[in-house]
Symmetry: D2
Subunit: 420 residues, 4 copies
Amino acid sequence: MDPAKTRTDQLGELVQSIVDGRRRLHELPAELSAEQAAEVRRRAVEALRGARLEHTGEYSLDAARAASRHCENFVGISQVPVGIAGPLTIRGRYVEASEPVYVPLATTEGALIASVNRGCRAIAEAGGAVVRVEDVGMTRAPVFRTSGVEQTEEFLAWLAANEDRVRQVTEGTSRYLRLLDIKTQAIGTSIYLRFRFASGDAMGMNMATIACDRVVRELIEPETGVPCVALSGNYCVDKKPSAINFLEGRGKRIRAEVQLDAEVLGGALKTDAAQLIEVQYRKNLVGSIAAGAMGSNAHFANVLAAFFIATGQDVAQVVEGSMGMTCVEPTGADGVLASIFLPDVPLGVVGGGTALSTQREALALLGAQADPERPGAGSLRLAEILGATVLAGEISLLAAFTSGDLAGAHERLGRGEAGR
Amino acid sequence: MDPAKTRTDQLGELVQSIVDGRRRLHELPAELSAEQAAEVRRRAVEALRGARLEHTGEYSLDAARAASRHCENFVGISQVPVGIAGPLTIRGRYVEASEPVYVPLATTEGALIASVNRGCRAIAEAGGAVVRVEDVGMTRAPVFRTSGVEQTEEFLAWLAANEDRVRQVTEGTSRYLRLLDIKTQAIGTSIYLRFRFASGDAMGMNMATIACDRVVRELIEPETGVPCVALSGNYCVDKKPSAINFLEGRGKRIRAEVQLDAEVLGGALKTDAAQLIEVQYRKNLVGSIAAGAMGSNAHFANVLAAFFIATGQDVAQVVEGSMGMTCVEPTGADGVLASIFLPDVPLGVVGGGTALSTQREALALLGAQADPERPGAGSLRLAEILGATVLAGEISLLAAFTSGDLAGAHERLGRGEAGR
Amino acid sequence: MDPAKTRTDQLGELVQSIVDGRRRLHELPAELSAEQAAEVRRRAVEALRGARLEHTGEYSLDAARAASRHCENFVGISQVPVGIAGPLTIRGRYVEASEPVYVPLATTEGALIASVNRGCRAIAEAGGAVVRVEDVGMTRAPVFRTSGVEQTEEFLAWLAANEDRVRQVTEGTSRYLRLLDIKTQAIGTSIYLRFRFASGDAMGMNMATIACDRVVRELIEPETGVPCVALSGNYCVDKKPSAINFLEGRGKRIRAEVQLDAEVLGGALKTDAAQLIEVQYRKNLVGSIAAGAMGSNAHFANVLAAFFIATGQDVAQVVEGSMGMTCVEPTGADGVLASIFLPDVPLGVVGGGTALSTQREALALLGAQADPERPGAGSLRLAEILGATVLAGEISLLAAFTSGDLAGAHERLGRGEAGR
Amino acid sequence: MDPAKTRTDQLGELVQSIVDGRRRLHELPAELSAEQAAEVRRRAVEALRGARLEHTGEYSLDAARAASRHCENFVGISQVPVGIAGPLTIRGRYVEASEPVYVPLATTEGALIASVNRGCRAIAEAGGAVVRVEDVGMTRAPVFRTSGVEQTEEFLAWLAANEDRVRQVTEGTSRYLRLLDIKTQAIGTSIYLRFRFASGDAMGMNMATIACDRVVRELIEPETGVPCVALSGNYCVDKKPSAINFLEGRGKRIRAEVQLDAEVLGGALKTDAAQLIEVQYRKNLVGSIAAGAMGSNAHFANVLAAFFIATGQDVAQVVEGSMGMTCVEPTGADGVLASIFLPDVPLGVVGGGTALSTQREALALLGAQADPERPGAGSLRLAEILGATVLAGEISLLAAFTSGDLAGAHERLGRGEAGR
């Protein structure tokens, strides 16, 4: 840029160059700060489209970080309202029952947080939710092309004989990565190698991708002569609902349950065991099967989406993360054991959007952060909290059906009368 | 509150009452403004958990609206970085090829916007994407309990005979709602009535719920004596991947395609027809089937999540919205016809989070707003733009696999070197 | 053949010509009877492989018919043991409760018929099974190739405008065929037209295929210029498990139910309501969902396979026919309502293997035959009987689990001690 | 029976007692031979229903065996026409390319055998099909009920600590059985243990059931105190289409492929590479995904059903056995590599219906019999032959679509003009 010009003039010229079509949005001078570049882009598209991006430009996050690591052609932010549900009582391995947990949820869906909140209260009254998380690991599955069954056999034999070397190369790309195993599948001339990695406190998708890339290029292709057609062969499976992830798991596999006696059911949840089991049966079980739905739950996705946005997870992974099952089973005298099962929840407390300003605050509020002394514990704690929150959302919504609350809440919301 | 106290004192006492457990987060005095209530809650959980919610409190949206309609226990916002992809050329019914469309995307996933942007460029060079949208309508399916096959027959006969009255009652709940049809299914003693409504420029889920609630309580239950067990019987199906939505559609059904000749393929996309078809075959088709995935695409979910957050849609609906298929088929001399099919995209330009500050700006940038002269046109325009954006993301990622770009991009991002 | 030679000599020479590789199995002289041709083939493969086909040649069916219509390179028969379950009490539209129905089942699986028989007894004691059948119709879905979205729109517009002509041409191929509707789907450049036909007492697959072939060649291709790539585009869907058939139905859609009180449960079935519901819940519902199974039942396939072989149905259609759901729901004091739902059962009483000797006898035993006065009634009666038989098999097996009978029965069978 | 009466009188009285309702079909005196009992039953139901079971009584199989081990209330047989396809050239581990294999198929579906036969010819001309079979093993999955997550953890810990004892008990039930592994899944309070066994030349379902029963009753329940609710929890999964079997395999996992050059394509198959790939793409791939079908093939089920009936397999297992994928991929100059993948084929050469007269002959014709020197080799050979036969059927039908042969063949069959 010409130093003689004022800053405003300079930016104005850049804006004009975009408006005139002489420059594309990502072709701004490197010396511009992220904030300046964002301003130029906002002004350019405002001029081009006659719209205003005023609030979008009102941010407090670290623009340089956002622009360089998270969001190309950065112009500002989307402001997603955040509310808090809780306190939630969790009897986990990484959360003590004595800790009151407050869960930040980012959503625009009225009634959601109120509903989760009610579930939290029921769980607290019931003495807490028992939660267990398995660290299944992150998967990535490159696909290769062979000349047929016979080369496929040779390829798989090579792999079996060179497992240690494959491990070395993949693990050499990051000190946080550990190769757990490789599940293979061959169909026609395609071979899928589903690598599964432990990735500590990170969700791990990028680490897994980089590790697979390295081992494919440096070891597998050169030694076998079998070409890799795509680093992801959709056998991973990232961000799609899939049977393989449901069955094998991916990321964290979460189970949570709570024992609800008649008092809690009739109190916080305004329902009873028989009605809750009836809704569970006709809606979550029979209805889901009849609809050809994958899994059987009431609204896991709502809670995951709000939790993922608030805590800086990869929101598109809600697609796979929200697969799962709810169970409501009779116990004792008029009580139920309500539980949820989430086989495929990719999440982490480092990497991805977790270092951004508000997201980092949300993780701090949850006490879910990486601790060098206990690698992986932060993400397991986060998963436990998520599991209990999903459970809270589930029992509350199922109970709402039994008391016919659902539409009423939405009607009041439509008039802006609900919540605060 | 005691008027003698200073504001700070007053808020401080409220904070303390929450910290002491004397008050729950939603039990704040009604006279507090939304901003004040948010501040009290932030300070309370900060005190309770030793965390800071500084950036979370930095918002410019309308807190009163957010707190009353979208987000109970409101404390502030999550700042999600927004970047812009485009210009995108669309040959639709609601977007002209001559309009340069700039698409705001809210994401923390580095490389995503750059990738979509590259796809936009290829589409522009190819003369634009042809997009068509069908307004399938919003569905809601209450479940009823009968005493068996015979009562089920009577119930369904009543429904057939009273279709007009059902229509009147449901349509009476909103002047924007039109009942399209009711698909019935009976299994065991459960009957599912899948109501399908046109809902104009709104996504329509709440409107459909309210309409179903009304007709169930006022007409169906009283006249048939058959009780409704849950207003949603998971045969709707909201926010779950399901065969019924894949086959019947829900919300908008979107098709988009672009003809890419050898020049465009070799230029913006750095690939060729043979390689692109090969990746499509082994990844999207064979890989998806092998994994038991629902649908067959590379990363619809990424684009939908970023688009939904930016434009104020219900983010949990990415789960169903991202189901769909990509096709890449050879055409002419070394060209391909690339296309996407999205059967189940619920979206709108009014209602939900669309009126929030940054979200409204995003919709304005897209020119997707409700127009009383052309009801529904705003949401159809939005769906066309989404379809073309998904297509852009898809061809770009498939091409990236062929040139081995994927891991490299992520490695650079990890070091903060990519994008701006 | 040379008339001077004896018959044996002549056949011997033919046998030798096959053994020597001068003649293939289907290249026998037209003047040979079906029996002679079968003998030649048997002797030839016996010579070639050193095996004996003695029992295979022991048949009483009409060889000429079998060889010309059902089974090329006919050599004889497979003898599948047939047993009879019943009497079964059915309260249907085509079977009266007063008729004792005896069901022939062809199977080699020991304990199956005994189990179904026990279920029949329980049903009889319970006053009969209520069965209802919907005649959904037979489907066939040719797939066409267009040049893209725009030609697809034109094609579908043509179809909408020419529905009557399409009906005329298809219905002109058989006086038993009636076109019910055409469900369309377009993905990429492929269009699927799912024709649905009523086909009276025939299962209808061949009739539907012939009708589609005619209308495609004579009307659709010539007028639209859009080529048909395959007469079946797997959107029909014949002989595969599929969501579309589960949801839309195909052939007959069958529902059957029986009210079992505590006495019947404790008597014939040696179980009680609580146990039966428990098995149903953990096995048919949760287990099926967990396994990613399509539908949720205990062993529909066993009953369908045995019924289909015995009555001359297309046995490969057991694949789709056995999809479905079982429900066991508490009623009254310690009773249950057990029911089955089969959405996709292709069957008939004319055509296919129904005219073969033993198969015709099985249909006669069931009183399920075509009646010119009541077209379609024969196949509906057959479907009602099948539905009740499936229900009998289901309640009996579920009950067996509760009493731990299953393995014991198989152990006794292994020693040849069971049954008679 | 009274010795003074003539045989006919005696049987006549028994017949009458059934007709009068004094006796049920299975309540015949033990001293009756299987043939006599069958005659009594036939006459009784003939009298009751006014039908004739003449051909049903024309059998040459060993009635005593059939009645005691395979078919309760035995009355005779169903005669299913058998034809022979081949010779088929197989390059397997258990079949040599030099052996001409003739495949008996039992079917009533006209044109099927002719079609498979054409495929066999193409395979022979192409030098044979390469086939490989993995012996995945037979599975059975009992379901248990715990009190919740904590007892589930204890139970699984017990299982891990007692694997050797579990192995000993299960393997103690048969010298042919070997426990391969146990895959566990816990959902709500249900635990599924999917036992996987090698079962030599037997299909193994009954052996697996007996072994599971033993270990559950004698070891698992007594030591853990956790009750087994059902010996099969539908996580096995027997005779249902399921994702778990598709992904994990069951029985035999079969892959077969053949390289077809332009000459073979244009000769025996009357097609070319481009057309075959086109049908494969639009029908097997896109069509199957669009229909929500499990797997993607043209008609595996037809071949399996005919092969299973002829060789005495459990025909209901066609449901799971026919899941799978076909691939047709371009190779060299205008050639294709056609292949099939069948992940879940339960079969055997001992046990089940394999010892019955005609079924035993079919297995002998195929040279697929148990050999004490090479345990398991017989069933692996059978699986190789099945794989090649399925491949033959698949390429032939796909080719038929390209030449528009399909409907024509069925029209000729309808007039009895086709085949011989």
